[in-house]
């Protein structure tokens, strides 16, 4: 039994897997993974929304830089962005916690992708909606705010959740700059115990799967709840 699949290495380190040394030390493990993912998710939702709107603005002075930024980030590996932030932010602002640089990197990276989802969602709303709104005297930004976005955002939900699930998995790259999220905690325990890599990494894979699957199911449930009566 011991040779085949040793559960005790998981059981012994279970709290460490889940929350690191918290509350006696900093948050780690799955707790930190979820923290990184949710903070980056909220930030990149707004980042993506703003970038998306800027990238379809009528004014070139805002559109061009936004599009350039989106293309630049999308053409770069996430690991590169994490390194950039890890070395750049402390150089600019002095001491910055590693987890903060990772949140920044994840936010920038995911915002660029979210912005494309936002643009697609906006462009999926028939042009007649905007025309109807501005023909009653609403200004273009009001038409966007009251008519296009409320409809577009609902259509974007599945893609947003998709992106969020990617984001959860992407937090594992924080391991490279020594942030003790789930994957990092796993390697630590593996290095300490030496003998149980299979057990440890199967367990970690399972946790990622459960968390991601839960969010995918949540999105399906949300879609059904929000499916409102479509016109025409």
């Amino acid at each position: 039994m011991d040779q085949f699949f040793n559960i005790s290495v998981i059981a012994d380190n279970f709290t460490y897997f889940m929350i690191g040394r918290f509350p006696n030390g900093p948050l780690g493990g799955l707790g930190l993974t979820l923290y990184l993912a949710s903070v980056s998710c909220v930030l990149s939702f707004f980042g993506g929304l703003i970038l998306g709107l800027l990238s379809i603005s009528r004014f070139r002075a805002v559109r061009y830089p936004a599009v350039a930024f989106i293309n630049l980030v999308r053409g770069m590996p996430l690991l590169m962005v994490i390194f950039w932030m890890y070395f750049l932010l402390p150089a600019l602002f002095g001491k910055v916690a590693e987890s903060q640089t990772v949140i920044m990197a994840l936010t920038l990276f995911t915002s660029a992708y979210m912005s494309r989802i936002v643009v697609a969602g906006i462009e999926g709303i028939p042009k007649g909606q905007t025309e109807a709104a501005i023909s009653t005297g609403l200004k273009p930004w009001q038409a966007m705010l009251y008519i296009v976005l409320p409809q577009g955002l609902r259509n974007m939900i599945p893609s947003f959740v998709n992106q969020f699930v990617s984001l959860i998995k992407d937090t594992s790259l924080a391991f490279i700059v020594g942030v003790s999220e789930l994957t990092h905690v796993g390697t630590q325990i593996n290095n300490r115990t030496m003998a149980y890599p299979t057990e440890i990494f199967v367990f970690i894979a399972l946790i990622y799967f459960i968390v991601c699957y839960a969010f995918t199911s949540l999105s399906r449930w949300l879609e059904q709840r929000l499916a409102w009566r479509k016109a025409i």
């Binding site: 909606q129 023909s135 009653t136 609403l138 409809q151 609902r154 479509k230 025409i232």
Partner: protein, 248 residues
């Protein structure tokens, strides 16, 4: 009220409006008809700048549309527009469809706006549908709500772009009745339509368009009994006597 002087518009190389000269006085109902692709939709959409013009002068309610200082949003608030596809907001109830612009643009208090909206719904015969969503309404009902929505801004001019073309035949009458009621009340109206019965009965003038130009302008009586232009005669013949009639 509305004056076109030598108006031109191009879509790429396509000359969609070619030297348009038209004048609509206050309280007048002008019906624009013509074969599809003749530019009548583009013409009516230039009046509230959904399509900008390329050349000429266009004055609407005293505002010069080519003047950079003209506030287009303000102009649009004074001009109601009814679309072929209704374009109601699917995520808002009938009442909220109507009160959105008055509360946001005119800063009308919500309670007052709702009261006015109810009066308008009464007028188009849909008071009991105030809490329904657009998709729960028939096409004719949706179009009547769209008319109420346009009227909620108390416009001085109403534009109709083929308002009955997307409707089932049995619903056309209810929409035309609302429009007729509006015309009788003295509203300045420009109507693009194929409903020749409506044109004959309600219009003060009919403009016939073909290939981007206004070929003929006449009173309905003149236009329907003695169309001058050969193209107009041909158009009316086709419209009034369908060529393929297979009776059972």
């Amino acid at each position: 009220m509305i004056t076109f002087q030598g108006v031109h518009k191009w879509f790429k190389s396509l000359h969609v409006l070619n030297d348009i000269n038209l004048h609509v006085t206050s309280g007048e109902v002008l019906v624009v008809c013509g074969p599809s692709g003749s530019g009548k939709s583009t013409l009516i959409r230039t009046i509230n700048q959904l399509e900008p013009i390329d050349k000429g002068t266009l004055t609407v309610d005293g505002m010069d549309l080519l003047d950079k200082k003209t506030d287009i949003n303000k102009l649009r608030a004074e001009v109601g527009f009814v679309f072929q596809q209704f374009n109601l907001y699917p995520h808002l109830s009938v009442l909220n469809n109507i009160i959105l612009a008055p509360t946001k643009i005119r800063k009308t208090a919500k309670r007052d706006a709702e009261e006015q909206a109810m009066a308008l719904l009464e007028r188009v015969g849909l008071a009991e549908k105030r809490n329904a969503y657009p998709s729960q309404l028939s096409g004719g009902q949706q179009q009547r709500v769209a008319i109420a929505r346009a009227l909620a801004m108390k416009p001085r001019i109403m534009l109709f772009d083929e308002p009955t073309s997307a409707l089932d035949p049995e619903m056309i009458g209810e929409v035309l009745a609302v429009m007729k009621d509006l015309a009788v009340s003295g509203m300045t109206m420009v109507v693009v339509t194929h409903e020749m019965g409506f044109a004959r009965e309600v219009a003060h003038r009919v403009a016939f368009m073909d290939a981007g130009t206004v070929l003929e302008e006449a009173t309905p009586d003149e236009f329907f009994s003695r169309p001058k232009h050969e193209r107009a005669q041909q158009f009316l013949r086709q419209l009034l006597t369908p060529m393929h009639c297979e009776c059972p």
